[in-house]
């Protein structure tokens, strides 16, 4: 159709979706972009994942806003694709649909007792303290002297820091009110962090690890015997170890050399080469049983944890947060790779089961590459997907949409009386920042769907 601008739907307004919108607007100014979002608020894990004590990173929202919403990209929030509007309906109204839905669930440990009250995915704890409206009703029992965090990645580091930090520190952040209240009443004295593999394989960034050792009023304890490197790890670190892995081992040695801080109100304990085998308790978590591992090199050359004997150690605790990875969920009517938990794709072009490109369907972010990388990784990932889309538009390779924009708008208006557009989001944002100013905090979040939607509708 001559003179018509191409129309693109991006499903998911998290970092991957935002970088994709910005990249598309840069590559091709004349394009109509609709940014669909399941929640009433945009920016995904930047708002709901990045820890509240990392406010400097949250500044990225200003860039997202400037490069997308302020450049004419429409926000259609509080709309769930696959529920409120189908993939087939989107394909009928847009030249292209880019899925940027992320990885919305967690991996489980697959051990007995995992479903006991007091055992939860760290991702739920993160969503809860960040005011994600789907999780504000959760109740984490912090009336226990010891919490165990299973995992050695940055989410594990985040939840450890939040559990150990003093409420006075957190009061200066945008942590959710309900979480702040619960953390003020916390009786936790020790947060024990367990790594399946050894200190050289810990997935923390050295920045996250360093932060754990710098918390006000918190003693960080690492027993020297926990961080002695086995020969396999020592060889790996010397020959192939990354800058971060070497820094981590160096930091852990520093921590192990520190004298204990007896005046500290709380402690973080790091232990390695331990795998949980069972969570025990009557009616709720009372103990975690762990087994020791060795590090071995498998046929592919990767370093893996292998059980070292049958001895089981029992650790008394009242809270177990598992942080062993995110996992994507399938989308209705879009082919999903059940083995790798991504949309099967080639450089962002979504493929069907036979490996043929589905014209006009694209993926970006975690649903494209799996849950790896950091925020900025999505920028390059988005550039790759957008380059394919622009190439397909130039080649005239996309089917012409049948419906016009007005038809889709009418359909959404009919189905979603509480659709949140950019004006609604601005009202939420301004209100939260205003509440924050009064409390000398960056913002005070509205944490329930009702509050968010009521503010957006005013």
């Amino acid at each position: 159709m001559p003179g018509r601008h191409p129309r693109v739907a991006i499903v998911g307004a998290g970092p991957a979706g935002a970088f994709a919108a910005a990249s598309l607007l840069r590559a091709r100014g004349q394009v109509e972009i609709d940014l669909f979002e399941r929640l009433p608020t945009p920016w995904g894990l930047l708002r709901g994942g990045v820890a509240p004590d990392h406010q400097e990173i949250k500044r990225l929202e200003d860039t997202f806003d400037r490069q997308t919403l302020r450049r004419g990209c429409r926000l259609l929030a509080n709309v769930e694709v696959g529920v409120d509007v189908s993939h087939i309906e989107l394909m009928r109204h847009y030249d292209a649909v880019i899925y940027a839905t992320g990885a919305q669930t967690d991996k489980s440990l697959g051990i007995l007792g995992e479903d006991l009250p007091g055992s939860a995915p760290a991702t739920e704890f993160v969503a809860w303290y960040n005011g994600h409206p789907d999780y504000h009703h959760l109740d984490f029992d912090l009336d226990t002297p010891r919490a165990v965090v299973v995992g050695n990645g940055n989410v594990a580091a985040d939840v450890t820091r939040i559990l150990a930090s003093s409420p006075a520190e957190l009061e200066r952040t945008d942590i959710a009110e309900h979480a702040l209240e619960a953390l003020r009443a916390s009786r936790i004295e020790e947060v024990l962090v367990l790594g399946r593999r050894g200190p050289a394989q810990a997935a923390f960034t050295s920045a996250e690890l360093r932060d754990l050792g710098r918390l006000e009023g918190v003693d960080l304890r690492v027993d020297p015997s926990e961080i002695e490197l086995d020969p396999v790890s020592r060889a790996w670190l010397a020959e192939e170890g990354t800058f971060t892995a070497r820094k981590n081992v160096e930091l852990l040695r520093e921590f192990a050399d520190r004298p204990p801080r007896l005046d500290a109100g709380r402690r973080i304990v790091l232990r390695f080469l331990r795998s949980p085998v069972e969570i025990r308790g009557e009616g709720r978590v009372q103990a975690l049983e762990v087994r020791r591992n060795d590090i071995v090199r498998d046929e592919s050359g990767a370093l893996r944890a292998r059980p070292a004997g049958d001895d089981v150690e029992t650790i008394e605790c009242g809270l177990v947060l598992r942080s062993v990875g995110y996992q994507a969920v399938p989308l209705p009517d879009v082919p999903f790779d059940e083995r790798r938990f991504v949309l099967r794709n080639e450089r962002g072009r979504v493929l069907d089961a036979e490996g043929r490109a589905l014209p006009g369907v694209y993926a970006v972010g975690w649903i494209k590459r799996g849950p790896t990388g950091i925020l900025g990784t999505n920028k390059r990932d988005a550039a790759e997907t957008v380059a394919c889309l622009v190439e397909d538009l130039r080649a005239d390779a996309l089917p012409e949409p049948e419906g016009v924009r007005e038809e889709l708008d009418a359909l959404l208006a009919e189905r979603k009386s509480n659709l949140v557009t950019v004006e609604g989001w601005r009202a939420i944002d301004a209100h939260e920042r205003e509440r924050g100013r009064a409390a000398e905090r960056p913002r005070v979040k509205l944490a329930s769907h009702d509050e968010l939607l009521a503010r957006a509708a005013r």
Binding site: R59, T205, A207, R210, D211, F243, I374, G376, R380
Partner: protein, 93 residues
């Protein structure tokens, strides 16, 4: 003087795009890019032009005389990254 990048870096490569002397590494495509937790500024090459500071979307870059206390390790860390890198390149050659 030099600028330094703190641990709050998100590896958005806006700084690399604007750096006139190519002193920010690793660059996309480099062997150590994917595993790097942040980007680093080579203090021996930086010309203190300020372009990266303007470009950084999360304000993670500071002049060496004005690094906030919580990032006080960053100056050594940036320098050390390049010291190790040149050793690795020398041994690889």
């Amino acid at each position: 003087m030099t600028y330094v990048i703190a641990g709050s870096c998100i590896k958005d490569d806006s700084c690399i795009e604007v750096c006139p002397v190519d002193c920010i590494h690793p660059k996309p495509g480099a062997a150590d890019f994917e595993t790097a937790e942040q980007l680093y500024i080579d203090p021996a090459v930086c010309i203190d032009c300020d372009a990266c500071v303007e470009a950084c979307p999360v304000d993670a870059i500071f002049p060496d005389f004005d690094v906030p206390e919580k990032f006080d390790y960053a100056l050594d860390l940036n320098a050390e990254f390049f010291a190790e890198r040149s050793t690795a390149q020398r041994t690889a050659a």
